[in-house]
């Protein structure tokens, strides 16, 4: 592996995170305080990584999908379905392992459904995953029969609220998943294949890559990640809320991936950077919360961030800027 160089550390995402954290500290001087209590860490920083975990997990699954020029709009709905499955399973007295397996299988099935529509029927990803985005919440409500199914299985609750080595469980899960996904992508050939497919699908086909299988696999993995995030979200509130679980989180996940530097036009990707993107989003959320502004302010900040990124990534803007500075730009064919 390459050694870290200064330019790696000085990535704009890290600078952005540092900026936001300092801003948070300025409006709320206790922001960096971390205390040890009852065998676990407490503080705003811990809260950031804890609250950011579900979006981080979604972003882990979404990154490679976006790198192939796809998108999965259904992850929020899949979270709700998986949460509902986990809750009903726990209420029925199933052990944690069965509950988890059930939820993940449902997520896998959802992912395979999306992936089949995209890879084998050739439906645009945005359109294909819209179906489950619309219907998924209905399915979740069907499972919970419209009510919020609460459970008290301590093992399942631990997944959402427990701690390991003082760190909140969701953050630990997200971290492990990030490392595992990153290793799978970079230590096997899958990462290279994903980038090749996202860069030039036609060339990938000429090279003998099984592009469809790769794409199917990515959506399946995305479904599993969504299911895991759904279980954590349900465990956190000790209940499955089919209406609100994961609501709008697909959008946060896409935003996290884009902040992390993966282009919506496919190609290069980095799962750790997407997780960093999720942490940045959560740091903004938490900052707004601790500063006493209404939480809805968040939405405006997020919208501004999207606009900022779009403007920065835009060719047209780059053209104008470089023309201002008198450099020649080659006109594309």
């Amino acid at each position: 592996m390459r050694r870290l160089s200064l330019s790696d550390i000085a990535k704009p995402q890290l600078l952005a995170l540092a900026f936001i954290l300092v801003l948070n500290w300025m409006v709320f001087p206790g922001f960096f305080n971390v205390t040890w209590q009852d065998g676990r860490l407490f503080g705003s920083l811990i809260d950031v990584i804890n609250r950011g975990a579900p979006v981080a997990i979604l972003a882990i699954g979404m990154t490679a999908i976006i790198a192939t020029r796809g998108v999965d709009l259904s992850v929020g709905a899949v979270m709700a379905v998986a949460g509902a499955v986990a809750a009903t399973s726990a209420v029925a007295g199933q052990p944690l392992i069965v509950t988890l397996a059930g939820a993940l299988l449902v997520g896998l099935a959802c992912g395979l459904w999306n992936g089949s529509l995209v890879a084998f029927l050739g439906i645009q990803p945005f359109v294909a995953t819209l179906v489950l985005m619309v219907a998924g919440r209905g399915v979740a409500q069907l499972i919970t029969e419209g009510s919020i199914v609460t459970f008290s299985d301590p093992a399942l609750i631990f997944v959402g609220t427990g701690s390991v080595l003082g760190l909140p469980m969701p953050a630990v899960i997200a971290l492990i998943l990030m490392i595992a996904a990153h290793l799978v992508m970079r230590r096997t050939a899958i990462g290279l294949f994903v980038e090749a497919i996202g860069t030039n699908l036609s060339a990938a086909n000429y090279t003998g890559l099984r592009a469809r299988t790769v794409i199917l696999g990515l959506y399946a993995f995305g479904g599993c990640c969504a299911a895991l995030a759904g279980v954590i979200a349900a465990a956190d509130i000790r209940g499955a809320d089919a209406n609100n679980a994961g609501l709008w989180l697909e959008l946060d996940a896409i935003l996290a991936v884009v902040i992390g530097g993966t282009s919506l036009l496919g190609g290069r990707f980095s799962i750790p950077m997407s997780v960093l993107g999720a942490v940045i989003i959560q740091a903004m959320n938490t900052g707004i919360l601790v500063s006493g502004l209404p939480p809805e302010f968040n939405l405006i900040v997020k919208a501004s961030v999207i606009i900022l990124i779009l403007v920065m990534q835009s060719d047209r803007v780059a053209e104008v800027v470089s023309r201002r500075f008198g450099r020649m730009t080659t006109r594309g064919k």
Partner: protein, 326 residues
């Protein structure tokens, strides 16, 4: 029959059959009362869906429309109830703001060359955020004009009520149909959806049309928000959450191709009515729960996406991409 009419025909047939089944189970569903309520209850969705139809025919997507409905409702409520503005003046202000909001999204899509879904996503966040900053709670609207408009209806034979907002929706569909099918702007919308490169080469004003389309969609979103505030006599920042999906589903079920280029304003009306029918059936049934609506709509959406795929790939539609010169 022209294959492009097939999805629309399928929708119409499904609607008729579904309605027939409903009536056979619950004969009371065949009444002007139910029909009138159909229109009233779905007025805001229908109005917003007309805008969504334009956007989708042009090959775009608008995820912000539900949020615009919420924002418009809150704006009206704040203007009327808190600032004492006359409702009609408030309507004009809100419609102007909505149209400007949409125009700026259209400009961003065209000039920054970014996918519409991400721009309108930012728009959604922005509109919901603004609405929530104005108020967290539902603001009741209590004004004579409001009461007058809400109480306005035409009594149909059989006791049904054709309400003012229901009529407004039908009027919007009519005007939308004329714009889409009878004006140059309408033909530009179809041209963009067919092939933006060809359209530009053929002299279609792409920038103006794109901005116009999104301005129209948000204008209708604002109108839908006003209707929603009339319907509920209040403004609530979280009103119509997720409605953009219902609107998109109505458009697609109504026979408009989700990838653009083909579609009918009238089809969207049937799409909206079909969704209304599902809801009404569930209400009549009493034992079925509301989530079946979402599942049914999801299934219909899937069926129509598949149907479009079959119809349009069999037809070999769509220009092949010309390769870049070596």
């Amino acid at each position: 029959m022209n294959p492009r009419y097939r999805p629309l025909a399928a929708t119409t047939i499904i609607f008729v059959i579904a309605y027939a089944i409903c009536i056979s189970q619950y004969p009371s569903m065949w009444s002007t009362r139910v029909l009138g309520n159909f229109l009233t209850d779905n007025a805001f969705l229908g109005i917003a869906a007309v805008g969504a139809t334009f956007v989708i025919i042009s090959g775009g997507i608008d995820l912000s429309v539900g949020a615009v409905v919420g924002l418009a409702g809150v704006l009206v409520a704040v203007l009327v109830s808190q600032l004492g503005v006359h409702p009609v003046a408030a309507f004009v202000i809100v419609l102007a703001i909505s149209a400007a909001f949409g125009a700026s999204m259209g400009a961003a899509i065209h000039f920054l060359r970014v996918p519409p879904f991400i721009v309108t996503l930012a728009g959604m966040f922005m509109a919901r955020g603004l609405a929530s900053i104005l108020t967290q709670d539902s603001i009741p609207i209590d004004h004579d004009v409001y009461r007058a408009i809400s109480g306005l209806y035409y009594r149909l034979p059989g006791g049904g009520r054709l309400s003012a907002i229901g009529l407004l929706m039908l009027f919007v569909f009519l005007v939308g149909g004329i714009i889409a099918h009878k004006t140059r702007f309408g033909s530009y919308v179809y041209a963009l959806g067919g092939n933006p490169t060809s359209a530009a080469l053929m002299g279609v004003p792409v920038a103006r049309t794109t901005i116009g389309i999104y301005a129209l969609a948000s204008f209708l979103g604002g109108l839908a928000g006003i209707v929603y505030s009339l319907y509920t006599s209040s403004g609530y920042p979280l009103a119509a959450v997720g409605m953009e999906l219902d609107a998109i589903a109505a458009v697609v079920i109504g026979g408009t191709l989700l990838t653009g280029g083909y579609g009918f304003i009238f089809g969207t009306l049937i799409g909206v009515m079909l969704q209304g029918l599902v809801q009404t059936y569930i209400v009549f049934d009493g034992t079925l729960s509301s989530w079946w609506t979402k599942i049914a709509i999801g299934l219909l959406l899937f069926m129509f996406i598949l149907l479009q795929k079959l119809v349009f790939s069999a037809q070999g539609r769509g220009p092949r991409l010309k390769r870049a010169p070596a």
